[in-house]
């Protein structure tokens, strides 16, 4: 017997309400009910990070998160990083500049984790950055350019523009 629940949450800055099947994952809800297809269905067991969204500012694998748990939460997906005038975020720009994107499947997840990293306002070492990015699998194995984009954005946010330009 199907069981449903009402979920009220804020997705990408908009208050929304939806009746969801309690068996649904948050990935299911974001993709099927809200057409936010940047949230990818990858491994669906929390290993690849393709389904990552920010929930109250923290990167979470939405495949291992029940849709009903979203009630009362603030959720950001890649679609939510675009400004109202159509411009994109500094993280997204850096990913483009560094040609971090190959097939693109892992990128929405990577960008959201990168957003959490640069929003922390901290300066991380290379080893720390690699560890912070380690919850994402890139099937094209293009990790180095992704790493560079994140490091550059981190430094720029800290006002270290010259240092950012030297990142190789």
């Amino acid at each position: 017997m199907a069981q449903y629940a009402l979920v009220k949450c804020n997705i990408n800055g908009k208050d929304v309400e939806k009746i969801v099947d309690v068996r649904a994952s948050l990935t299911d809800m974001l993709r099927n009910d809200f057409r936010l297809t940047s949230v990818k269905k990858g491994c669906e067991v929390g290993e690849c990070g393709a389904c990552t969204a920010l929930i109250d500012g923290e990167a979470i694998n939405t495949c291992l998160y029940l849709a009903v748990w979203a009630d009362g939460k603030h959720i950001i997906t890649l679609e939510g990083l675009m400004n109202p005038d159509g411009t994109i975020s500094d993280v997204q720009k850096a990913f483009m500049e560094e040609t971090s994107i190959q097939c693109g499947f892992c990128i929405p997840g990577f960008i959201l984790t990168a957003t959490e990293i640069v929003n922390s306002g901290k300066e991380y070492t290379d080893d720390e950055l690699r560890k912070l990015l380690s919850g994402h699998l890139c099937r094209c194995t293009g990790y180095q350019n992704i790493f560079r984009a994140v490091k550059k954005t981190m430094l720029r946010r800290l006002g270290k523009n010259e240092e950012a330009e030297l990142v190789r």
């Binding site: 029940l66 748990w69 560890k131």
Partner: protein, 295 residues
């Protein structure tokens, strides 16, 4: 869609206890990072779930009146790692849970779930054993406190009385454990991220005032037996002894009298024994350094 029969949501501990009494067959789900994977795999498919995810009173770290560190069972790994009390008093626990899975898993997985699974490889478990943590269980007849070594019964089974509607509500680190004590955790795995420990080793030390004698050494392992375990023989040979490399070597060899690892596809018994000795040595050396001692 997950293959679940029904979902019951609790918003308070009382509601969770009541739901547990009404649905004794149901599986408790906290962070979901294990239960939902097992449901996907089919191992827990078709089950009823009681979700305790929304019980916000079970989140967070604080000091109680006796200055024990109280960690709510729903506190996520990343919140433990970044908590000021943990960072100051028992840094090693924050470091150990910072090795679980990957960053997104650590933002969702909880210390309560990590221990209630009853698995020997849980990254928090060896450290909680080494610090003689106390598990707080809440049921229809109130609270019950258990030393963590008694909480683990056998692989995959912990002492939670479902008939009394019990759930684990907190983990306490007694003041006697954390006071003047420093520790170190080593996880041995084939990868740095998204890895289950081949063996995990957690050591903590309290040195004498002049930092020349081992006042109290505690060591515990994950994946050195069916449940996380202490190594009492090793502790006995070094307690009260001077801080020397020779004593550290003796200590590390003595762990072999206590541990009982098995052959598995991850590693052989012989290899696990080999690294267990080396891990004990390295973790003790690091712990001594953190205490300000010299070797």
């Amino acid at each position: 869609m997950y293959d679940m029969k029904a979902l019951y949501e609790a918003y308070t501990v009382e509601e969770a206890v009541k739901l547990r009494l009404e649905h004794p067959e149901a599986q408790i789900i906290a962070g979901g990072t294990d239960v939902l994977v097992q449901m996907r795999e089919g191992r827990r498919a078709g089950k009823e779930l009681i979700s305790i995810q929304k019980i916000d009173s079970m989140r967070g770290v604080c000091m109680d009146e006796q200055e024990n560190i109280r960690i709510g069972s729903l506190t996520t790994f990343s919140h433990i790692t970044h908590n000021p009390i943990i960072m100051e008093k028992i840094n090693v626990l924050g470091e150990a849970v910072d090795m679980v899975g990957g960053p997104q898993i650590r933002n969702a997985g909880t210390i309560g779930g990590n221990t209630c699974n009853g698995v020997t490889s849980a990254d928090s478990a060896s450290t909680l054993h080494a610090w003689e943590a106390i598990v707080e269980l809440t049921g229809v007849n109130g609270k019950r406190y258990l030393p963590i070594k008694d909480f683990y019964i056998k692989a995959g089974t912990v002492d939670i009385n479902v008939a009394e509607g019990e759930i684990q509500t907190a983990i306490l680190i007694p003041k006697a454990s954390w006071e003047n004590t420093k520790g170190f955790y080593i996880k041995y795995g084939m990868r740095n991220a998204m890895e289950i420990a081949t063996t995990g080793c957690s050591v903590n030390v309290r040195l004498s005032e002049d930092k020349k004698t081992f006042d109290r050494v505690r060591i515990a392992y994950g994946v050195a037996g069916p449940v996380p375990m202490r190594a009492p023989s090793a502790e006995a040979v070094v307690n009260g002894q001077p801080v020397t490399m020779e004593n550290i070597e003796t200590f590390s060899r003595a762990v072999l009298e206590d541990i009982n690892p098995r052959d598995s596809w991850r590693a052989s018994k012989a290899f696990r024994k080999h690294i267990a000795v080396e891990m004990a040595k390295r973790a003790l050396i690091e712990s001594v350094k953190r205490c300000g001692g010299e070797i």
